[in-house]
């Protein structure tokens, strides 16, 4: 192998080396996808199939998990079910075949909406504040600039449970416990540090000369910011927004400790989807699938900026 390596430059690996590297990486990728494939598959299994041994790879797909995810059901006697008018919808039939009737919708949809409202609300605020602050830090002489930037970053080093203790007390005083506003404010505060650091990096890359030229030609500083800098930073702002959205969407610790009903998001809700006799795994898997799909889409959209986002802008390509 070393003979081959000398024949070719190290810069361009040999075809054999490429093939071996490719095989190993693909093997890793496939193994790491197994848990996700299992989530997707379990969502379409019946509860019995989901816990059969050996685990079933081939099975008759069923929508029971998804029906259970969206509904609450009560168990009834066969005689009672027979006395009902014939089931109209396919999901009624499915539920009745298990000797149950649908009692009403589950809380999955309201929780999903909470996740969306809190996610988008906090993202909008964090990116709005972050863009302004990042521009301020990027372009002006601010006293104690490095200290302020470090303070903004250091807020990220607190364990969420440690932050949650005083926030819990403060929100109780202010009546913000279990409110969407409270969660939006909290997630904005957490995300704004990421937003400032990332956006400062993006804005630093826009040459100052553009604004200066615009200002010489008669723009005010604010006009130059709005009409010259913002369009140039649009990609960076979009990438930052997606990172903030993903954080808010995935956040669990604060949501668990500070919400219980009205403002509860999906992460503390999904693990507690219970069926008869414990967790209803097909329903949990169905909920997890619907929860993960937006993130999968965003990850693919973001792939060019991932590196920056996960290192607070410390590493750029």
């Amino acid at each position: 192998m070393s003979g081959l390596a000398i024949a070719h430059s190290v810069v361009e690996p040999t075809p054999a080396a490429k093939r071996i590297a490719g095989a190993l990486v693909i093997l890793y990728a496939l193994i790491s996808m197994v848990p996700l494939a299992w989530i997707l598959m379990t969502g379409f299994k019946t509860p019995t199939d989901s816990i059969s041994y050996p685990p079933k790879v081939l099975f008759e797909p069923s929508l029971e998990g998804y029906v259970n995810l969206f509904t609450t059901r009560t168990r009834q006697t066969a005689a009672f079910i027979a006395s009902l008018p014939p089931a109209e919808a396919w999901y009624d039939k499915l539920v009745r075949s298990r000797n149950m009737v649908i009692a009403g919708p589950s809380k999955f949809v309201p929780r999903y909406l909470n996740s969306l409202v809190i996610g988008f609300g906090s993202t909008f605020l964090a990116v709005f504040l972050g863009t302004l602050a990042a521009y301020g830090f990027s372009r002006f002489k601010v006293p104690l600039k490095d200290d302020l930037l470090f303070f903004i970053l250091s807020t990220r080093m607190m364990p969420p449970i440690a932050v949650a203790i005083p926030i819990y007390l403060m929100y109780r005083e202010l009546g913000l416990t279990d409110t969407k506003l409270g969660m939006v404010l909290l997630y904005t505060a957490v995300n704004v540090s990421l937003a400032v650091w990332l956006l400062k990096g993006f804005i630093d890359e826009i040459p100052r000369e553009y604004e200066e030229a615009a200002m010489i030609d008669g723009y005010t500083r604010l006009q130059a910011f709005r009409k010259v800098v913002l369009p140039q930073a649009a990609t960076g702002i979009a990438a930052t927004a997606i990172f903030c959205l993903i954080f808010a969407w995935n956040e669990y610790a604060f949501a668990l400790l500070l919400t219980s009903g009205d403002a509860q998001t999906l992460p503390p809700f999904i693990p507690f989807i219970i069926g008869e006799g414990g967790q209803d795994w097909p329903a949990v898997a169905a909920g997890t699938t619907l929860f993960l799909i937006p993130i999968l889409v965003f990850t693919i959209l973001l792939r060019k900026h991932l590196l920056r986002g996960i290192t607070f802008g410390a590493v750029r390509k």
Binding site: S9, V10, V25, I26, L132, V142, I165, P166, I167, P267
Partner: protein, 320 residues
């Protein structure tokens, strides 16, 4: 680097609109005012939601306050909580479990992540696509996905036990990942490695790609062996990136809560009870608010202190 054409047209339009640059000075806000107007809202928000609560936590940590006993008269205890914590067996257990967890995950993730990055950097066909696939787990919610791992780990019927018995022949009902004292710490390490190896990989990959190719060409001319090139060029050049990845993973895993809370909730016994889980028990199950405030401060100072020492070391490596 950037396309300047739209700017040109903008500037032209602006020039047509405002005849004299002097008018701008009069109409516009001063730069100083703008700087403060732009930065102040963020700082105020962080003061209100981060610094103020932190100060409140410090204040509470010197008192006897408990959320569930609001009528007990407030007393100041000085540093009593801090000295108690240093002698609290639960706290020490939490710190040790955390240290072991951080060490194990960082070691495995660094080795595996670097190896993956090195392989991806061989630039085989389709490496871009497979890189994106590998990155997916790290973007997912540790809580929601961690919760699903309890299903994969289920005794007897879980997929994990099946796969292990399929490849090793061990009886699948002879071991439980979450229920067993010696295996439970590994169960959380496995999930963390699955989620976060891609993170280290991505940063290492950036490091590998930052190495100028002509260094290798020069080494070729000097007939340095590939082994020698790897240890004298690749490793030192990637090291600052690896150290950065270790810093971020270290801080994150020191704070780890979500995945472990749902997967093992610290059990069995207290074998996987990380510091954050101990803190949750104290603050939100036993409701020892002031005591847990002191613990929270100790945790923060520990993370902050370790991170600062580490960053100094990192800067020294970078300067070389």
């Amino acid at each position: 680097m950037l396309d300047s054409r739209p700017i040109g047209t903008l500037i032209d339009r602006a020039a047509a609109q405002t005849p004299s640059p002097i008018a701008v000075r009069v109409r516009g806000l001063s730069d100083r005012a703008i700087a403060w107007a732009f930065i102040a809202p963020t700082i105020i928000l962080l003061l209100a939601i981060n610094l103020f609560p932190l100060i409140w936590t410090i204040r509470l940590s010197f008192s006897n306050y408990r959320v569930n006993r609001p009528n007990v008269p407030l007393k100041w205890l000085g540093i009593a909580h801090y000295t108690d914590i240093l002698g609290d067996a639960d706290v020490w257990n939490g710190m040790q479990v955390t240290a072991r967890f951080v060490l194990a995950t960082i070691t495995i993730e660094t080795l595996l992540g670097f190896a993956l990055a090195y392989l991806i950097d061989r630039k085989f066909r389709g490496h871009g696509f497979w890189t994106t696939v590998i990155l997916i787990p790290m973007m997912l919610s540790p809580a929601v996905v961690g919760n699903f791992w309890t299903f994969l780990y289920q005794p007897q019927t879980g997929l994990f036990n099946y796969v292990v018995s399929f490849f090793t022949g061990i009886d699948p009902s002879s071991f439980q990942m979450i229920g067993d004292v010696s295996l439970a710490p590994w169960s959380i390490v496995i999930v963390d490695v699955w989620m976060w190896t891609p993170y280290v990989m991505l940063i290492c990959l950036a490091g590998l790609r930052s190495i100028p190719k002509d260094i290798y060409e020069a080494a070729e001319v000097d007939r340095a062996s590939p082994w020698r090139q790897f240890w004298s060029i690749t490793v030192p050049m990637v090291l600052p990136f690896v150290m950065l990845a270790v810093l971020f993973r270290g801080i994150e895993n020191f704070k780890m809560f979500d995945m472990v809370n749902l997967l093992t909730n610290g059990g069995p016994g207290s074998t996987t009870e990380l510091a954050s889980i101990t803190l949750k028990r104290e603050a939100f199950e036993k409701w020892t608010t002031s005591y847990s405030s002191a613990f929270a401060i100790i945790l923060f100072v520990t993370i902050f202190g370790l991170a600062n020492i580490y960053v100094k070391a990192l800067n020294r490596v970078k300067q070389k």
